[in-house]
Symmetry: C2
Subunit: 366 residues, 2 copies
């Protein structure tokens, strides 16, 4: 999507074949900085420190991380080590493990001398596939927005609420949850997005507001507490969020707080959709409540990044000195609260039957 009129992806290999460029998302929204990854350690660090975040982008970054490792040592041992090292950076993200397995499966049969070039090419293919998948998700989600827009009075906007950033900054382009919004906006549908700030890391305030604003999509920032009230008052037509992992029965692990919005949507009759590429589905799990939930540092709750009036960016403490904080990073929304999934193959119910209707090859595999 566009920033300052220039079309970007979130990750791309430089022509020298030795560096991979990313947008440092920890600097947003205050500064737009492109940084280069040159080693597998730098790729792992970019994932761990959330310079890149979002399930699809984490997967593609890990794939390029394997490619960077292969440039140094393309032995079987180095391949296994790179895959294992990258996999442990974010335990909740199934897409990370999927992308790494995809790289391993592709590279393992090759002779070591061919692995580095093949790894870069395959990481690039995964990136292109992600763009195509996100575009398809948007096309399917656009139908839902079209139907709501058709019931509106002339000039009335369709109001979508989203949590966290399942935007193009979380993917390679388009985004998952945002793809229907970008496509609706580009198609001339009057659309307005309520953006949850998404404490503690403020991905909504820092990233979703930034990317929607950069692309020209009307939006309003709200605190995470406000969405239920807005739904009660009829100000939300539709919720669309992303996910880090969906189980085979349709339970949804996503950014902490998603569950609360799903409860409010159910209580107020607002449709609640989850947008996802198929790589996010964990067919090995039924019950979402066995998904390990990453417990991040309490410092992320106690300390925020912001800019003062002079434009300088600082870390600030917002709690009393000595205060202790807990920071579970994800929660699980039970399938019963989800209206449907928007995938690259279409829209389905949040259930095993719904998912199998879109992915029948999984039924044969069972």
């Amino acid at each position: 999507m566009k920033i300052g009129g220039h079309a970007y992806r979130t990750i791309w290999p430089e022509d020298d074949g030795a560096r991979v460029a990313i947008i440092d998302q920890t600097k947003l929204p205050h500064r737009f900085e492109v940084v280069h990854l040159t080693t597998v350690d730098e790729a792992a660090r970019a994932i761990l420190t959330m310079q890149v975040r979002g399930a699809p982008l984490i997967g593609v970054t890990a794939a390029y991380g394997v490619a960077l490792a292969m440039r140094v040592d393309a032995s079987d041992e180095a391949l296994a080590a790179a895959v294992a090292f990258l996999a442990k950076q974010r335990p909740t993200a199934v897409n990370l493990r999927w992308a790494l397995e995809e790289m391993r499966r592709h590279l393992a049969p090759l002779e070591p001398g061919k692995r580095a070039d093949a790894a870069f090419a395959h990481a690039g293919l995964l990136a292109d596939q992600d763009v195509a998948m996100c575009k398809a998700i948007g096309e399917h989600g656009l139908q839902i927005i079209h139907e709501i827009a058709a019931r509106k009075k002339p000039g009335e906007a369709v109001n979508v609420l989203t949590h966290c950033n399942a935007g193009w900054l979380a993917c390679v382009d388009w985004g998952t949850a945002t793809s229907p919004m970008y496509q609706a906006h580009d198609a001339g549908i009057a659309l307005h997005v309520w953006v949850d700030e998404t404490r503690p890391r403020n991905q909504g305030a820092a990233l979703t507001a930034f990317e929607l604003g950069s692309h020209g999509v009307p939006h309003t920032l709200i605190v995470d507490n406000a969405g239920g009230h807005l739904m009660q008052r009829g100000a939300v037509d539709l919720v669309i969020v992303g996910t880090d992992r969906v189980t085979a029965s349709g339970d949804v692990a996503n950014k902490i707080g998603t569950y609360l919005k799903a409860l409010a949507a159910k209580d107020t009759g607002v449709p609640f959709y989850v947008a996802l590429p198929q790589s996010t589905i964990d067919w090995t799990l039924e019950d979402g409540f066995v998904i390990p939930i990453e417990e991040r540092s309490g410092d992320e709750v106690l300390r925020l990044s912001g800019r003062t009036a002079d434009g300088a960016v600082h870390l600030f403490d917002i709690a009393p000195e000595g205060c202790v904080a807990a920071n579970p990073a994800f929660d699980v929304t039970p399938a019963r609260l989800v209206t449907g999934f928007i995938t690259e193959r279409g829209i389905c119910a949040a259930s095993r039957a719904g998912l199998l209707a879109l992915y029948p090859e999984r039924d044969a595999a069972a």
Copy 2:
């Protein structure tokens, strides 16, 4: 309650009879500062800018505001003007209107020359009544905590979650929602409090964490998004919140985000109690959804107060430049989501019948 070993109330008249001391709560948790109100304008400003906040403290501050007005001009016109002026500072707070009506009713029959001293005395009486009411609320709420503690294994703490600050800083002493917690802690019950930070103004992080910490009650700060997850995982035994207004049918207007916690409590089977003094009950209203919801400045969402490593306190921006924010300050939790009310007279169901059982004189009045 105690700060640095010294027992404070949140508001007190100085011996000179011309000044009223308050704790400037906008400076917390970074600085503890006592400031003096000397005019009705200063009292109104303290309410508007939230140097004082919380339904009971707003009421008592308004009462002292009337007293300060009477020192300057004790005419009928000045009394009416002071009451009208103070009432409009926070439209959602029924307690503000209650305290002002109480002052007007008490002062109007007196001859002007006696009104100033009588106003100070009556404001002091309202403060003392609030302390007694909060203490009684705590004694009733303590029973609930006792019952949960009795089912725990030895050494296991009772985990209470609270939203915003219905603490002693919101009252004159004890607090409403916190009063059962302080009394349980003081009685030696192992108690741990999950403190919602309560965006956008962070009253949980700034005030509740501060006052619980000052009094020595174990607590952990969490983002507002985390409570649902903690309830799903069995980490919350009980929710207790305060309220700005309760309707005669039991609907609860409270800080934005309360509704989301009530939904999660209902979904997970966690008891959800609202602590309130009777002055918070608006017997003239049935349906909570007609309560006017204060829409505050979006700047409160975009800009936060925090301290840098050198201890300096700044305002800092967390969203992209030019970002627009909406800021509804309260939401309404339907009575069906509330396990019960904890009032100074006891515990009752969140319904007209429940409230009338505790306040039968209201039935006679109807």
